[in-house]
Structures are given as structure tokens and as C-alpha cells.
Symmetry: C2
């Protein structure tokens, strides 16, 4: 007993968001059912919908959570850290939860849903603005930083460190993409 029954609404919503983050990160908006979210959260499907109204609202809540996480992370980049020379060290410090990255990628791919498209465009603008505001990065450096983050994001979402055995010749690619120790040119 004393499991997780009859939690307060807000607390239950948090747990559902945690679960939904994981499953949406993998399956995306259309590729994930509310039943999958419910199972991952350990409650009934009907209650998931009751807590968030619609699947779309739930996905947006998940997206906003991921968006907040990455913007917060970027705000913590210190000014003097930002130079192209030690981009790699910078990335090691900016590394974020796989789940957060996966959700963001899925959000980018779901712009056919108007509310998602609007949020995600807003988010990218904000990420860029935060970089320029909080660092002395040039526009081009900010762009390159976002670009590399997106690539890391994508390589992870492709399940890459895991499936390396199926693609042995991808090892050097993954090494240089994810920056698992490297020497400059």
C-alpha cells in the first residue's frame, strides 16, 4: 500500500509530465497514444485526459517543460566561457537530459500542429536571444552553438550511442559528434 494513490492534483500532474516526457521524446506527438502516457505514469488513460484536457495540451505542457529546461541551462553559460576555442568544454557543461533533447526534436518536427509550431518558433528565437544577451558571442558563434547542439540532439535521438553495434563504421562519426575526447585539427 501507501503507493502513489490519491495525490494532490498538481503533484499527479508533475508525475504525468515526467512520464509523458519520456514517451513523447521517443514517439513524438502523433506516434504516442494517451494510453502509453497513462501506462508510463501508472494511472488510467481517462485520468490523463482529465488532468490536461486534451492530448495537444499535454504535449504542449511537455514541450514547455523541455523549453524551460534548455533556456535555463543556457542562461547559466558564463560570458567568459564563450569562445570557439573550447566549444567542446562548453558543451560538456551544457549537456542536458536525453529526454529533454528528444522532446525538443519532436517539437521541431511537429510544426504541422499550429500551436506547436508557434511555440517552437518562439522558443528558438528565445534561445538565440538568450545566447546573445548572456554571452559575448557573435551572432555567428551563437548560430554555430545552436547548430552543434541540434546535431548532438539529433544523434542522440537517433539512438546512437546504443545502436553502435549495428553500425560499427559509425564509431568515428559518433565520437566526433558527441565529442567523446578529441584533439583539435
Amino acid at each position: 500500500m501507501a503507493e502513489t494513490t490519491h495525490l494532490k492534483r498538481a503533484k499527479r500532474q508533475e508525475l504525468v509530465l515526467d512520464a509523458a516526457m519520456r514517451v513523447f521524446a521517443r514517439g513524438g506527438y502523433f506516434g504516442t497514444t494517451t494510453t502509453q502516457v497513462a501506462e508510463a505514469a501508472g494511472i488510467s488513460q481517462g485520468y490523463v485526459l482529465h488532468l490536461f484536457g486534451t492530448k495537444e495540451a499535454l504535449f504542449l505542457a511537455v514541450l514547455e517543460r523541455a523549453g524551460d529546461a534548455i533556456v535555463d541551462q543556457m542562461r547559466r553559460i558564463r560570458l567568459e566561457e564563450f569562445d570557439l576555442e573550447n566549444f567542446d568544454a562548453l558543451y560538456a557543461r551544457t549537456a542536458l537530459d536525453d529526454t529533454v533533447m528528444g522532446v525538443l526534436l519532436q517539437g521541431f518536427a511537429t510544426c504541422s500542429v499550429p500551436s506547436v509550431g508557434a511555440y517552437v518558433r518562439e522558443l528558438l528565437s528565445q534561445m538565440y536571444a538568450v545566447l546573445l544577451e548572456h554571452t559575448k558571442a557573435t551572432p555567428e558563434q551563437a548560430r554555430d552553438y545552436l547548430a552543434r547542439g541540434l546535431l548532438i540532439n539529433t544523434v542522440l535521438a537517433m539512438g546512437f550511442p546504443d545502436h553502435l553495434d549495428e553500425h560499427p563504421w559509425a564509431t568515428p562519426l559518433v565520437d566526433v559528434m558527441l565529442g567523446s575526447d578529441e584533439t583539435s585539427a
Copy 2:
């Protein structure tokens, strides 16, 4: 008359692939119905399935088409073009169909379908290998090239040049992302 009735199977498949490319690029695998593909191709839903067997096979055919297009494009990069100084000029020449880029992004986001994940991991490995083979790029340069291509890809898939009126403050972002004239740092 002489519309497009009773074409040879192969020719009809090509037309369906053209249409499917457009609609999958926007909606992704799960977010697109075979009926949408059929409507875009101007034939019945049943016939689409008849021509490709399953929706999954159709999506894979679309993905392979996009993959071939981008690998072909990358093979055409000349050795001497590849230096970081004129990355921008290089990108102007490598620019590809929005549709191709959209399909690739959707493929990256659909790794929960095993066949798609396997193909897409193979493709990224091949893209990286082609860059290293056909140019004198260092691994890091190849990575940065792919990274920036992916970002451009994503910004376009987000519908960005179009929706700029809804996000006026994103103008500098889009300018530097898509490289519509810029001066180096």
C-alpha cells in the same frame, strides 16, 4: 483528356512518391494518412497501398529518395571548396529542396519505427563518410558542416521564412541562420 489515367506502374509510383514527399515532409510518418497521400497524388487510397504494400514501405521509399538526393548533392562538393572561410558560399551551393530537407528531419524524428531508425543511422554515417572521402575536410569540419545543414533544415521545417510576420523579433535569427547576406566576425 490525356490526363493521368492508366499510367505504367513505375511512372505512377514516381508520381505518388513526389506527392508523398511533400505531405510526409510536413506531417511526418504518424501525422500523415495514406488518404492524404492519395489525395495529393490524385488517386484512391487503396491504390496507394497497392502500389507500395504498406504505409511503412511507402515512407521508407520516400526517405530513401531524400537520402539519395542529399548524398548525391554532397558528392558534388569540390575538394577545394571546403574550407571554413567560405562555409556560407558553400551552403548557398548545397541548398536543397525544402521538401527533401523536411523528409529527412521527419525521418530523424521517427526512429521509434525500427526500419526507419536503422535507415537513418545508416544515412548519417554515409553522409559523414562522403564528406571525408570527397573533400579535404577534417572530422571537425565535417561535423560542423553537418551541424549547420541540420540547423538550416530545422529552421526551414519550422516554417520560418514564412511565419516571420508572427515572430518579428526572430528576423535577425533567421538572417544569420539562413545566411541571407552576412559579414564574418
